[in-house]
Amino acid sequence: MSSPEPFRFRDCSLTIVSLGRVARNLRELRAELAAVPVGSLQHHFYDAFLRPSFDDREYRNDFAAWTRRMLRDAPLAERLSVVDPLDCDDFEDVRDRLIEVVEERLAEDPRHADVPDGMEFRFLRSQLVYFDTGVRATTIRELKERLPKTTTGSVFYHFVEARFRSPQKRDDYSSWLLGFGDEGRALADRLARVDFQLWSLPETRARIAGCLDGTPEGLS
């Protein structure tokens, strides 16, 4: 069997653009969810991983976090927290599911007040700039050595965003490892257990590295 092509480490950098659209209460959130571009939904689910923010957050997607912290609606936050774009066909499907959850909550309890000034949900979108790092790995050992030295932007590109480029919703590291027979398949199986939605990008990078090395952190 021939070796796969070298793994090309790429990187990306985020810049955030304000859409100028806000929601002050649950009804406005529902209306804006229906109106904003899908890129904004993607930002609030995943691109936000690259945004400067406190990383020990209770919820990772911005909709769940806002409904918990600002609207103080714990049941709604819990339901929004399990809307998983990887279970959806695309972000239009994500939009439909979000709206369904919000409408269900509005039907249960229509008395949703406005949040205080300054606590509104502000819809954002991303512009992502992609570039090649020039770093390559030709063997599994080289991948193990070089991955911990990559940026969080690179981890985002290969481990998070890759799933939305891949028909199999697979990360780039696993796709490449599958070209290395049983050893590669075993490592890809381990990587599948890293739930990036629970961790910050530095933590995700540490867990991926742990998986490749077989250390407990990667397997936890």
Partner: protein, 412 residues
Amino acid sequence: MSIALRDYAEAAGPEVIDALERLARPLRGRRVVHVNSTRVGGGVAEILARLVPLMKDLGMDAGWEVIEGTPDFYGVTKTFHNALQGVPAAPTAAGLQVYDDVNREAARRLGPSLAEADFVFIHDPQPAAILRHLPKRRGRWVWRCHIDVSRPHRPVWKFLRPIVAPYDASVYSMAAFAQPLPHPQYIIAPSIDPLSDKNRPLEESEVQSVAARHGLDPLRPVVVQVSRFDRFKDPIGVLQAYRIAKRRLPIQLVLVGGTATDDPEGDAVLAAVREAAGSDPDVHVLLLPPDAHREINALQRRATLVMQKSLKEGFGLTVTEALWKGKPVIGGRAGGIVLQVVDHHTGFLVDTPEGAAFRMRYLLNRPNAVALMAEKARRFVRENFLLTRHLREYLTVMLAIDSGGGDQVEVA
């Protein structure tokens, strides 16, 4: 001693420096000019003093220009500053004329440099009207607004809006600060420089020496607030909080501020603070020169807790500085403080002097909690608010604007 980009590898990580060099390749040789209103004093000048050399280090032809204002001009722009943050104040017609005259003169003086630049970043409202006096320009112009303009006093915003609307883009420190304008509005949080005199590690002997020079008792806790003497920083509220907490704790309070040439109200606020402090020997009101960075660094490191009880705030870089030094922060629920101070993790948000006093007592009685917060605080700043991240976002905005504004931009 000049500091090179590679010197940041230890604080930010070598991979971050490699990525900056790759990202900047398409911008090598491009002319980038920043314009603001003061060379020293205030967070903007501090950021530009480091950002511009690093852009040069990355191969850009970067420059920094400062407009030359008059006392009248700074009086008008201070009124702008207050009004844009919601104070119902407005300059007179004569004041607006002074504003326009200074900007016209700046456009005449700086025109040759700015008209040929590929990117021009105009910082805050003071030099914003240069653009209208420079119709023949070829590059992209970006208005970088460092203050909270989310709820401006309308007459002043009505004056300023047509001045900033023709820019190609604007940049704000937080999404909440942005105003609707007919161009892309980017969000870039500011940063601190881990290698600057204000943030670099200091020997404990230097910290103790500075504390002793200012008469601080080495055995008792110290609460420090570092900020300009500005009513929005609520120094009087800090004094009130200190007095409540002092009933139970043997604390000392340091209110330390600098001066900035573009802030004519500082003297009046300082006088009010000194009067309120009275003769309490444990209250130290210090006015330091704008270059006293190491001294401020030492006082922050000597602090047991840091306060930033602002009523209005831009981003609150003094909070970032304190967190970088491993100090929990008791902060006002305002501006960017909300992004940085997370209850029970990096400090506490408060709304009143009473709340601040309670959190002082809470933290000063829990050294273990303070130690855990210190570790989280430092990691939080390392991952999010160092100058290298700020530089990366400037590069990214330039590349995004250059590409025409698509959601995804591929660079060679």
